[in-house]
Amino acid sequence: MSARQNRDPEPLHPHDELLRTDRIPHIWCSGCGIGIVFGALMSAIKKSDIPLDDIAVVSGIGCTGRMAGYIALDSFHTTHGRAIPFATGLKLARPQGNVIVASGDGDLLAIGGNHFIHAARRNIDLTVVCVNNFNYGMTGGQLAPSTPFGAKTTTTPQGSPDEPFNFCSLAAACGAVYVARWTALHIRRVTTAIGEAMNKKGFSFVEILAPCPTAFGRRNKMRRALDLLNFYYDRSVVKHGVHPDEASLDFNQRLVVGKFVDRERPTYLDSYHMVHQREIGDWPTIEHYSTMLAKEKTEA
């Protein structure tokens, strides 16, 4: 088993096995949803059959980006927005590895948005876990691409005039093979989803709506984490398989959660090898993806 590198000699909690306990307490505020999601990530890793040596966690910058620093696995805390391209290199150079990207909504979908859509398009075999706390927590609560229309942040003091992204719909449109959204309160679903995403070959995306009481809640009448969690409890509706375009986040009515996409498509490396082994003819007579897949299935 793994090195209990420089950590407390005896575990206090079931999660301690995967925690860098010598860095606990973590920096996250009381009630912050990042800790909840981080716990789910650790549970999913423990439940998976994947050897711990083969798992890497890559984060960008932000409160969520600090996840990489607390997990006692190969872990990389990169630059703001660039976790996905870093993880792409890591995965392509070591295809047997299972690479998880865990980062914030701003990191993955504002500054890192371009990388997100292209990694999904290429179907790079990554598990992308996005903690969506509707703002930039780390820098004190500014507008994010997820901030609901009208919500207050430090840079939208009168309410946001921006229309937010529906991340799940974006991921699906770009070709992600697994797309799910849960709230931090759906903790077992989150764990299952991360586990499924890790086992899925291809670009998987799990969005978790999470409380940021300090930066977001405070400015939006949800000062306590509980307020937002209760809000989720009241408003979230599970709709598996619904088209992500329909899975809207309407804070005035309901928040649609569930597993929206679970499909097959060759990964970047599958296609790379097929192309270089000349398994497909010259364009435009290249076999369609579905044919490629069928071929793969019969071989397997």
Partner: protein
Amino acid sequence: MKYWRKPLDLGTIEVTRGIVRVIEGRCKGCEICVNFCSRGVLRMSDKFNRKGYHFPETIPGRECVNCRFCEAICPEFAIYSVETNGLA
């Protein structure tokens, strides 16, 4: 794994089906566990931990069913439960 030993800062209350344990020093007092325990087993203690937060304790007479929801949701990895096999 060895969770049966009893670290000094663990508050232990035994009930029939599960024991919930709190690593008091880790708790940041968010009250999430208290609010979402399906059995209403927990309440916030009047005591403060060394970080100055109140932490949860069990309500005497309430039974923990070892559902481990508190363990899963605690953002601080400060609470967990273990099965008691009916031992009280």
